[in-house]
Amino acid sequence: MDATSFVTFLSAALFVIGALGVLLRRSALLIFMSVELMLNAANLAFVTFAHRWGQLDGQVTVFFIMTIAAAEVAVGLALIVTIFRTKRSTSVDELAQLRG
């Protein structure tokens, strides 16, 4: 096994842990953090793949994904704060008014 394979395995593991976090954490904040972990795992994969192919495209893409993450955080946190004001809670399990 070479170093790139090692890190891509690591990124896959991080991605899956992130996905698990989305499914297992109750707080919207922690779910959101887990999504960030998933994006970060993708970034790690991009960097190693860029290294493997000897290109910069992968690295440039990581830069853009970071920006996407920043934009998502701005809106996401604003949403969580807004709903906290109404419900006094960040638990997503209490948000089940809409269903069926």
């Binding site: 998933m38 993708a42 793949f49 008014q97």
Partner: protein
């Protein structure tokens, strides 16, 4: 790198909407708060301009720009036109509805325009990064628009659910792009699988699989559809109308770019998967719609079911039929939503339950007729566009040997007649209930309804008008 005029022309609709939304942002600061509808009309003018620009570019030949990152073909410009038109009709619906509910805010239109700019980028994407950015640009304003009716809990809940599931889906999409890049060393949709020995590479296949998960979420295909009913129900109806139509179109544009425009030579790999998803989507969407008493929610499930029909065309690798289907579906759904935005009390309480529509056909025959026509088109009764659209996708499926899928499509649409007809029955056959308030008058909304209904019939009777515009599918290989 210097930008040349070809580059500009290639994404001119995107550029005009993007610049326009920045202009809108500045203009909104100058418009006094009590005259917000001016912003709305400005946004409408912007989208009309963009639609005309896109329409005028329909005749241009296929070409790539920005170093191959974007592609411009008739299908892309047609989808631009369609999306801008949907945005225009949506704005006509908002004028009265948003005012009554206190969400007639300048930001509403700025966000709407920004979202549309993202969509007009997706239609041209020839590169996975552009695809990703376009999808994020269209999604982020929508998360906010769903929650714009705060502090109404249903609006906030709809926004947060959409956001969390959307961010989750974005994670899959981004990771899928990373794996695709890892397998092929490029982000270009044209060359990714064309690299030697790559098309069977498991890394690439898993990457494509995860990209399909992300896009499946956007078009609300089963099993990535669960967010849609909740979000559609809770969001302000005008936002729901926009999401059920424009977002759906943009999501399919992305799917078409990836599956029909890119991935040459891989049709046999993805076709069975898309066919299975299409089948599941038609079945689940229609079944769940059967049990709904809430009209808005029923339309949410109906939009899932219709995504299934469009997916039949995707599976059959027939771009034209998919685009035609989506066009017909979009106008039909807008007509239905025009009626829903009309029904509600002046205090802003919405009347979503079917009960509220009883007697509508007799009290307001025209509004009732619009609702009935929309339902008939959703069932697929000629001479409405719903019929031709279904015919095209089923025909395409049969031609590709997916007979079982066409049979399933016909069967589920027969089943769908049941719940759509119930709406017509309630509107025309039941006595009006005292609780149902009369619809609030609104000339722009009536105009929106008229445009939609006219499209439903014109496209149903003379579909040739549209077919010539859509063009003959997408560029599927680099020359």
């Amino acid at each position: 790198m210097m930008i040349n005029s070809t580059d500009v022309v290639a994404v001119l609709p995107f550029i005009s909407v993007a610049l326009g939304s920045v202009g809108l942002l500045i203009a909104d600061l100058l418009i006094p708060a009590e005259r917000r509808h001016v912003t709305a009309w400005l946004a409408a003018a912007l989208l009309l301009t963009a639609a005309v620009i896109a329409l005028s570019l329909l005749g241009s030949p296929t070409f790539e720009a920005f170093g191959g990152m974007v592609i411009s073909d008739p299908t892309a410009f047609f989808l631009d036109t369609l999306i801008c038109t949907i945005g225009l009709v949506t704005i006509l619906l908002t004028l009265r509805y948003n005012q009554v509910r206190g969400i007639l805010r300048g930001e509403f239109y700025i966000l709407l325009a920004l979202s549309i700019s993202g969509m007009t980028l997706v239609t041209h994407a020839n590169n996975l990064l552009i695809l990703l950015l376009g999808i994020e640009l269209l999604s982020i304003p929508l998360y906010v628009l769903c929650g714009i009716a705060r502090p109404r809990l249903e609006s906030e809940e709809s926004a947060l659910k959409y956001f969390l599931t959307g961010a989750f889906a974005s994670g899959f999409l981004v990771y899928g792009i990373a794996l695709t890049y890892g397998a092929s060393g490029t982000l270009s949709l044209q060359t990714a699988p064309a690299a030697p020995n790559v098309s069977g590479d498991p890394l690439l296949l898993i990457g494509i699989g995860l990209i399909l998960v992300g896009l499946g979420f956007k078009v609300a295909a089963v099993p990535f559809h669960l967010w849609a009913p909740d979000t559609y129900e809770g969001a302000p109806t005008t936002v729901t109308a926009f999401m059920a139509t424009a977002t759906k179109v943009a999501g399919f544009a992305a799917l078409l770019r990836v599956l029909h425009g890119g991935l040459p030579g891989m049709e046999s790999t993805w076709q069975p998967l898309v066919a299975i998803i299409a089948a599941a989507t038609m079945i689940v969407g229609n079944l769940a719609a059967l049990a709904q008493q809430n009209l808005k929610r029923m339309l949410a499930y109906s939009s899932i079911a219709h995504a299934g029909y469009a997916l039949v065309g995707v599976a059959a690798h027939d771009t034209t039929s998919v685009v035609f289907y989506l066009t017909g579906y979009a106008f039909t759904t807008l007509a239905a939503f025009a009626v829903i935005t009309a029904i509600g009390s002046s205090e802003g309480e919405e009347m979503q339950f079917l009960e509220a529509y009883s007697g509508l056909g007799r009290q307001k025959p025209l509004l009732g007729a619009v609702l009935a026509i929309a339902m008939f088109s959703l069932i697929g009764i000629p001479p409405t566009v719903g019929f031709i659209g279904k015919y095209f996708v089923f025909q395409a499926a049969v031609a590709k040997g997916l007979v079982w899928l066409a049979v399933l499509g016909v069967l589920t649409s027969a089943m769908a007649a049941y719940y759509y007809l119930r709406v017509v029955m309630v509107a025309f056959i039941r006595e009006g209930s005292a609780a149902a308030p009369l619809p609030t008058p609104s000339a722009p909304r009536n105009l929106a309804a008229a445009i939609s209904v006219a499209a439903v019939f014109v496209l149903g009777v003379v579909p040739a008008l549209l077919l010539s515009m859509i063009g003959n599918g997408m560029l599927s290989t680099t020359p």
